[in-house]
Every structure is written in C-alpha cells, then in structure tokens.
C-alpha cells in the first residue's frame, strides 16, 4: 500500500486568532515495502505529518492518498477504520496508552475494535509477545507492574496485533538505554525484513537512519527540504551540518579518515560493517600494490 502526499498543508486551529501553519506544500511518496526515515528539528512538523498517515488529521490543503483512499479537507470522518487498521502508529512514549487489567487484554484491545472476537484477540496477543521480545508468562500480568522498557514493548505489541501493513514509529527508542534502543531497532528491522512491513520512522538518531532506512525525508519548518536514499543525502555532510542535523558516526569518521590518509571509499560507507570492509580492503590491497612495486 503506497501513501502519497500532494501539496499537503496543515494549519492548527484554523480560523482562530491562534492559527498556526505547521505544514505547507508537502509532496511525498512512500512506497510499499520501504523503510523511510523522517528527520528534522523539533517543531519541524514530523508528528503532524505522521498523523496524516492514517487520517487522524485531514490536510487543510492538498490531498493524502492512503492505498486507494483519498483524504482531503472535505473528506468525511466515516469509515476511516479501514485505514486505521492498515496503518498502525506507535506514538512517542507509547507506554502511556496502556490501560487494561492484563497485558493480553491490552494487546487485544486494537484487534477487538476492528472486529476481532475476544478469543482471536488473545490468540493474537500470544503471537505478538515473542515478536516484541517478551514471553507468554507476561500474558496475565498487569502492564502497570512492568518496567518502562517492558511496558513499551507491550504497547508496541498492541499496535502490531492490529496486523497493519504500514507501521509508523514516532521516536520509538526515546528514553531507552543503549541496549534497549538497539534491541528495539533490530526488532523493527526484523519485521521489515521478514513480514514485509512498510516502515516509517521518525528519529533524531542519524546512526539509525544509516543502519536501517532505505529512504529518508528531511523536514524543516513544515516542509520537505530533501528526500532520497540515505547514501545520497549523507554525501552532502556540509549541508546537513549547516542544518544542524548531524551525520552518522560512520560518515564523520569516514571523512576524517579520508582527509588524513587520502583513502577513497567505493561509495559512502553507512554502517560500521561497510566501513570496516572498506578499511580491511584498503589494508589488504596496499601490500599487494607495493609488492608489485617491489618487483620492478
């Protein structure tokens, strides 16, 4: 399911003295099966864009096309459930949405709203727990007795249980410790790889963009200022620095290394593994070259 924005604008509290134009002129295309990273400063409009992805918000201007549904400012609010089910959103600090007596019931809440029976809900809950790294023993526990990181996993399981085609993540690792962050990102990446989920990730961590995304969108002051493959966007490190967005550690380290040693990379290495490959290649190559020189 593709999602397309055409000339989308959004104004908060339109028609009041407090109106605030948060988005303008946004053109965006999210392909089925892609992993898109959405980056930008605080207040640049990322969360506002997210809420258009499942019609929680309707554009003030322009159109948003979600699969075959077209949403404009005129669209009515009926029958949006289909969209909500297909596009699951994990909001920032999603643990704050838990409310049920048990973990199982909370996970089953979404599916039940979309017409699943009690039993189906429980079956889904049982299936989702291992995906988010918890075992079945958690089913009957109160979500409020869990640690922060576990609560977040339960909340994410609650969204996954709706079996969405598109998974939208608003800074899902904020506030977690490094180990938790890595586990969580790996979990999303697995879903993307194995279940073919389309993923849209809002993040401030350029390292995550480099490691996981195949497409990235840069927002500034409510509009898209750059879009493309991370490899291409990160090439222009100076531009990113000028926008105070930073680059992945691999990129800054790589450019430091090139400057000092004159090493030229074959394409921009984005992950540590890529960089290590390049360095290993350079280390192994050179002796050969010099041997060739010696022979003369």
């Amino acid at each position: 399911m593709d999602i397309t924005f055409e000339k989308v604008g959004y104004t908060y509290q339109k028609g009041t003295p407090f109106q605030n134009k948060a988005l303008y002129d946004i053109d965006l295309h999210i392909k089925e099966g892609s992993f898109t990273a959405l980056v930008g400063h605080t207040g640049s409009g990322k969360s506002t864009v997210l809420q258009h992805l499942n019609a929680l918000m309707k554009p003030s201007e322009g159109t948003v096309t979600i699969g075959d549904r077209v949403i404009t400012s005129q669209s009515n609010n009926k029958n949006l459930k289909g969209i909500r089910k297909k596009v699951g959103i994990v909001f920032q600090f999603p643990e704050s949405q838990l409310f049920e007596e048990t973990v199982a019931k909370d996970i089953a809440f979404g599916p039940k709203n979309f017409g699943a029976t009690e039993e189906e809900g429980i079956v889904l809950a049982k299936r989702m727990l291992p995906i988010v790294g918890l075992d079945e023993s958690y089913m009957e526990r109160s979500p409020f007795d869990l640690s922060g990181g576990q609560m977040r996993r339960v909340a994410i399981a609650g969204v996954l249980a709706m079996e969405p085609e598109v998974l939208v993540l608003d800074e899902p690792t904020a506030g977690l410790d490094p180990q938790g962050r890595k586990e969580m990102m790996d979990m999303f990446y697995r879903l993307y790889r194995t279940q073919g989920l389309t993923i849209i990730l809002v993040t401030h961590q350029m390292d995550d963009v480099a490691n996981y995304a195949d497409h990235m969108v840069v927002l500034e002051k409510g509009t898209v200022i750059k879009e493309g493959a991370p490899k291409d966007v990160f090439k222009d490190a100076a531009w990113l620095e000028s926008k105070q967005l930073g680059v992945p550690a691999t990129v800054s380290f790589g450019s430091l290394l090139s400057q000092k040693t004159g090493l030229v990379f074959n394409g921009l290495p984005l992950t540590t593994a890529d960089l290590a490959d390049e360095i290993a290649k350079a280390l192994k190559q050179q002796p050969n070259d010099s041997k060739a020189g010696d022979a003369e």
Binding site: I89, F99, G110
Partner: protein, 265 residues
C-alpha cells in the same frame, strides 16, 4: 488547541482594563453581580448597560466576543424569559388563558431578566477575556488571606492553584496524545449512545489518571529536592500592585451603586 487553553479565553492586550489589578477585576465582577439585583426599572438597567458598554469599550475587545459568550446559554435564557413573561400577573393584561397571562408587567419583567443575563455574562466574560488565569489565582490567594486566622492553609492552597494552572496545558496535551493513540487503535470518540461514549472514554481516563499519579510523585520529589518544606517562612516572588487606576475603578463602582440606589423605584 494548546494556545487557546493556556490562556483560557484570555485575549492578550494592554488596555486600561487589562492593566487593572486582578484583585480589582475580581472584586468588581463580584460587586457587579451583586448590585445588578438593585436594578428594577428601565432607568437603572440603562445605567448598568451604559456602564458595561463603557467597560467593554475600554477593554478594546470586539463586542462580538461578548455576544459569543451568550450563545451557549441562549436557550436557558429564552426559556427563563418566556416563563417570566407567561407567569407574571399584572394590572394591564393583554392575553389571559387560564394560568397563562401576558401582562405589561410580565413583558417588562421578561425584558429585565433578559438584560440581567446579558449584563452578567458580559461582565464575567470581560474578566475572563482580560485576565490571565495565573493572575487570577494571585488575586484569589490574596482575597483568601483573612482565612488564615481560621487555620485555612492559604499558602498551600495558593500553591495548589498555581500548580494546577501550570499543569492544565500539559494534561491537555497528554489527553490529546492518548486520544490519538487510542483512535489509532480503532476507538471512535463521539459516536454511539451515551453508554458507548462513556465506554470509549475509559481508555483515555485510566492512562491519564495513572500518569497523573506518577507525575505527582516525581513533582513532589523535585519540589523537596528544591527545598520545599511547607508554606511557613516562604517569601513571594510575585507581587500584586494596587495603583491609582485600581482605586479609580472601585470609585466608579461606588458611583454606580449610588446611581442605582437613587434611580430605582
């Protein structure tokens, strides 16, 4: 949504009325609601109306904001007015059908009640539109001070009020976030009968209350870490200043009261 709520319906400005001390504004609103019951003929209502319009003029806020304040209550007002008209007996009867009598007195009474409503709403809207909620709590605290004699913990209550106001926007945001999260999980708000709607609200209320308790816990810890040990011995950063402008306003009310007493039947 947020902007509206931080200020309540406060409209920023620096008119004469905006600049009045909140105590003066709070007192005058209370006085106005009290003395309105002195009015009992058209001269007195006219005087009050002139007074209110002058005040509105001084606030430089458009009249339409005040008229909007009436709208939500319009049915209550009209109903009350009609009842007044229908059930007030009098000497000059225009229409008589059993208990239903339309008399000159009844009509006049209806008009007066209508005016009373409008005036009260205008003046209390004026208070809301020109005063930040925060300054109001300062005023309330000040006016509560005498209660300290009867062992009411006025300092603590004032602190509660200001913390409450400070958290209103935060909790509004949180409510909105949780509502969005649950809508994304398939909840429909504002649909179905009252029971279905109540049920839809449960997934907002529970997280909201649980998180409020956590907030309270953290906030209390933070306050104690910053040396909060009760109301005693605290000094105050915020201070209200009563200036000649405020005295003038109170004088105007004194004059208004005298005028009403003189003009009423």
């Amino acid at each position: 949504m947020m902007d509206k709520l931080i200020f309540g319906r406060y409209i920023p400005g620096d008119s004469w009325i905006h600049k009045l001390d909140p105590r003066a504004k709070l007192l005058s609103t209370v006085i106005f609601i009290g003395i309105i019951f002195l009015a009992n003929n058209w001269q007195t209502y006219l005087l009050l109306l002139l007074f209110a319009l002058t005040a509105i003029r001084l606030s430089t806020i458009k009249l339409s904001f005040f008229i909007n304040g009436i709208k939500p209550l319009i049915w209550l007002i009209l109903f009350t007015v009609v009842l007044q008209v229908l059930f007030t007996g009098g000497s000059t009867v225009y229409f008589d059908w059993g208990p239903i009598i339309i008399s000159r007195e009844g009509l006049l009474n209806g008009v007066f009640i209508f005016c009373r409503f409008v005036l009260i709403i205008f003046m209390s809207t004026l208070l809301t539109l020109t005063t930040m909620p925060l300054s109001l709590t300062d005023a309330i605290e000040y006016l509560l001070r005498p209660l300290k004699v009867v062992k009411v913990p006025v300092y603590e209550i004032a602190l509660m009020l200001s913390i409450a106001l400070r958290f209103v926007p935060t909790l509004m945001d949180e409510t909105e976030k949780i509502m969005n999260a649950q809508r994304a999980r398939g909840v429909d708000f504002g649909e179905g009968n009252i029971f279905q709607q109540m049920k839809a609200i449960v997934p907002i209320l529970i997280p909201l209350f649980v998180s409020s308790f956590n907030r309270a816990e953290e906030l209390a810890t933070a306050m104690e870490a910053r040396g909060y040990k009760g109301g005693e011995g605290r000094t105050k950063y915020r201070q209200l200043e009563w200036v000649s402008r405020d005295t003038t306003a109170m004088m105007a009310y004194a004059l208004l009261t005298v005028g009403l007493v003189v003009l009423r039947n």
